[in-house]
Symmetry: C2
Subunit: 122 residues, 2 copies
Amino acid sequence: MTTPSGHTSAILASKVKGTTVYDQKGDKVGHVEDVVLDKLSDRIMFAALGQGGVLGMGEKFYPVPWSMLDYNQDKGGYIIPVAQDVISKAPTYRLEDLTKNDGEFGKIRETSYNYFNIKRDW
Amino acid sequence: MTTPSGHTSAILASKVKGTTVYDQKGDKVGHVEDVVLDKLSDRIMFAALGQGGVLGMGEKFYPVPWSMLDYNQDKGGYIIPVAQDVISKAPTYRLEDLTKNDGEFGKIRETSYNYFNIKRDW
C-alpha cells in the first residue's frame, strides 16, 4: 500500500487530515476530516470522510474503515475502491458521536464495517 | 484504558496532538507532537514525544510506542509509566525520519519497541 511519503508504510496523523478522497472512478468524494483511533486495540479505526468545505454546525461524516483507503500518488489523495453511490448511502455521524462512548462507538464500528463489508479482527 | 473523552476507547487523532505527557511520577516530560500510523498493519505505532515549545530546526522526537500512553483524567494528559530518566535516554529522531522509508521505519520501530520493552505483534 502506498502512502504520501512514498515507499513507506508509516505516516503522520497530521498529514492525513485534509487529504482529498476519491471514489473508484477517480471522482472526488470529499476529504479526510480526522482519523479515529481505537485506544484499546491500538488500531486505526476510521477516516472521518467529510464533504463540506468548512465544518458546519451538525455536519455529518462518513466513518470509512481505514484499511479501505489507498493512497494514490498521481491523485495526491486516497482512493476508496467503491462507487460514489455506495459512499453517499453509507451511514453518517457527527464527529463527536464517533468518539462518544464505548457502546456508541462499538455500534458505529459494527455498522460501518458491515456496510462496507470489511473484515474485522477485534 | 481511559481516553480524554471518558468511557470510550475511540479518540480523534487531532485531539491527541499537543496533549501533555507525564512520566510515572507525574512530572511533565513533553507533549505529543504527532502520531505515527502504520498504514500496512493499520496499527497506531508511535506518539512522537516532543520537548521543545516551538518546533525548531532539526528538533528530535522520541518515538514512544502508542500502547505505553495512558490517559489520566486528572492530569488531562498522558502518562508514560517509566522514569523520566528512561525517557530522556530513549532514541530520538527527526519527525521526517519517523516516516521516511520502510527500512528506516522498520529499524526505528524495532529500536523503540525493544528499548521500552514493549510486546510487538507484527
